[in-house]
């Protein structure tokens, strides 16, 4: 059962990667767009992640960073958690107050700032 889950999720991930690699999300009407963006015209914290993945799969890290830098932030956090997870433990920082509140501030702050003229990209 566990192996079945792993095979299925790997297959879905591979198929997803192939779709994101082959088709450019920008200018392709079939790609599901962010609902928040369609309704308000503003960017949400996740907006640009499909374009970022497309750029990343084509090796363009700089473009991926411009599309959605917060993906890189959470990827870095996830990397920090790998040693603990490999031992089957929860990373020690995961249940600390500072990590919880930092996540709140980072995501909310990112959401606000990327919709202001302060945003560099």
């Amino acid at each position: 059962m566990r192996r079945f889950t792993i095979i299925c999720s790997s297959a879905i991930a591979a198929a997803g990667a192939w779709v994101v690699y082959t088709f450019a999300p920008a200018g392709n009407a079939w790609f599901p767009q962010c609902v928040f963006h369609q309704l308000t015209g503003l960017d949400c914290p996740g907006c640009g992640s499909t374009r970022a993945l497309h750029a990343l799969l084509h090796g363009d890290v700089a473009a991926a960073w411009r599309f959605n830098p917060i993906l890189f932030v959470f990827a870095a956090v996830a990397l920090c958690a790998v040693p603990s997870l490999a031992r089957g433990e929860e990373p020690r920082f995961y249940k600390t107050p500072w990590f919880g509140w930092t996540s709140v501030v980072v995501v909310t702050g990112y959401w606000i700032v990327r919709n202001t003229p302060l945003w560099p990209y």
């Binding site: 079939w30 962010c34 928040f36 949400c44 914290p45 249940k95 990590f99 996540s103 995501v107 959401w111």
Partner: protein, 148 residues
């Protein structure tokens, strides 16, 4: 006020250290949760990493582990584009905060709310994306039809 045990700076009216949970006032103000009083600082972790769970913490967190759903909340926020995801992250942070001060019941309550808002955010996100997909697809087909 600095904790006599670990030196962490706490609020002046705090009864328990926010870092190690040690009572800050001497006997005069007994905190409402008796289990926390018997808490002693955990020994440094064994080098090899202990099998199973946690160093012995007498009286601390006796019940089941309370999930904080932080990863779920962040994924719900990033993938479903909803302000409700932020609400879920705030409740997740509250789980951590309340666990740190020994408020197990409050942490459980915040955990339940974080889970609830994750699911609401996820559900609305899926429905919204499906709707947007249909509408965009219909517009795309209409445009294609007009071209031909």
């Amino acid at each position: 006020m600095n904790c006599p045990n670990c030196g962490t700076t706490n609020l002046d009216n705090a009864t328990l250290c926010i870092n190690c949970g040690r009572p800050l006032t001497t006997a005069s103000a007994a905190p409402p949760q008796p289990p926390v009083q018997s808490y002693t600082p955990p020994p440094p972790p064994p080098p090899g990493g202990s099998p199973g769970m946690a160093p012995p913490m007498p009286g601390m967190m006796p019940g089941p582990v309370i999930p904080n759903y932080l990863v779920h909340s962040i994924i719900a926020t990033l993938c479903c584009c909803l302000p409700l995801g932020i609400v879920a992250i705030i409740f997740s942070a509250q789980v951590n905060q309340k666990l740190a001060i020994g408020d197990v019941a409050g942490a459980q309550e915040a955990s339940n709310k974080a889970k609830l808002f994750c699911w609401i955010s996820f559900g609305i996100g899926i429905v919204g994306i499906a709707l947007a997909f249909l509408i965009n697809g219909a517009a795309f087909l209409a445009a294609l039809h007009n071209h031909m």
